[in-house]
Symmetry: C2
Subunit: 234 residues, 2 copies
């Protein structure tokens, strides 16, 4: 019922030492599980992406369109993370692509151990791509390596351009920022140039793509990004 | 760097007992601080609301319009929670209303102790209203009582109607769900009736208001809700 990531211990000095010990222990174990996942992906030539964002940024719609476009070109599968429901995995499976749902219950992010177990439920993806959709949360998933090649942060243009400054850890951890729901731009006051500037203040090397999973605008660039990065990881 | 709320310990039995002890300790202390805040609010006749949502749901725009409408009728002030930046407090202050910004750093929610200290920076609000804008996060703030009269969950219609089922703890903890950004409904496939049905599955008593801080649609109902509930708390 509390997050040690939140710095609660700054306000509650009594259990500083216990919190720090528990945090270091959990992160250390997560890193070991993440290294196991990464070794497995490398041995099978699997390109794994960890998709992170707020709830409702359109991660699942993005993935539905993405796997539909890729599935005849390479093996693909999806791991879905949510507190509750099997909805997202069902949406992926409707495309004919394998998906495994992780329900985290009270949990606010996936960890590498959960992902390792989820892999047991999916086909081997030799030479293919694995998409891991994290729990919708712009804070907690930032600190957890799942063994992915890249974290991809999705920010819908309805959320406002200031989010990279307000949630900097996530944008610092990601290699790519996708500005999603671009079909809604005509109805919003969203300053794309300012958003990119804010993201690069916290992460000078972050790449940026703008797209709509609804209209398909910008999708070719995203598929090309996947193809190029995947070739790199072979 | 980890959230004990997330159930990591289900996967990592070694530190179960430490985690549970730390969680109980922190929640117990938070509840004591929340009780202090609640006593203070009661003694001064302050009506306090805890606004929770995903990042980018429009909480600050909602508050800017709300405090502008209320400030000549009653004392009002705002506590803003974000990981970083003073932007939101500045937006509130531009209306002439007092605001105090809490930056949580790596933290993913406000706690009652932070709010107690923030009150030291605000004028006394005898007979007035205090709005606490939590960190944008549909998971972690659910478990933390700040001493508020009500949690109000804001869900922007761009986020999709399934969120109450996917993040049920937050919708169970709230007394009111505000469906925000209703001006965008003509451009979206968002099923309002389904969303309300999903919210009531996890919280049969939740009230629902639909509004736009952009167009002002539905705002009179929100101001009336505040007035009615505030009268109740006198």
């Amino acid at each position: 019922m509390m997050c040690t990531v939140c710095g609660c211990h700054d306000h509650d000095h009594d259990h500083d030492h216990r919190l720090i010990a528990v945090e270091q222990d959990i992160l250390g174990k997560n890193d070991a599980y993440a290294a196991d996942n990464r070794r497995l992906f490398a041995s099978q030539g699997v390109f794994a992406l960890n998709l992170v964002s707020s709830p409702g940024s359109g991660k699942t719609s993005l993935l539905v369109r993405t796997v539909a476009a890729l599935k005849d070109k390479m093996p693909v599968a999806v791991i879905e993370g949510d507190q509750q429901t099997e909805h997202d995995a069902e949406r992926i499976r409707a495309t004919g692509v394998a998906a495994h749902q992780i329900n985290t219950g009270k949990g606010c992010h996936l960890d590498a151990h959960m992902v390792g177990h989820a892999l047991e439920h999916l086909p081997t993806l030799s030479g293919g791509a694995l998409f891991i959709e994290n729990v919708g949360n712009l804070v907690c998933p930032a600190g957890f390596d799942l063994g992915e090649a890249h974290k991809v942060v999705i920010l819908s243009v309805t959320e406002g351009e200031d989010k990279p400054l307000k949630y900097p850890d996530m944008f610092a951890a990601a290699d790519l920022m996708i500005l999603s729901k671009s079909d809604l731009l005509p109805h919003l006051r969203f300053d794309t140039a300012a958003c990119v500037d804010f993201a690069r203040r916290v992460n000078p090397n972050i790449e940026v793509l703008t797209l709509s999973a609804e209209s398909g605008e910008g999708f070719a660039g995203w598929l090309e990004w996947i193809e190029t990065r995947r070739a790199h990881c072979d």
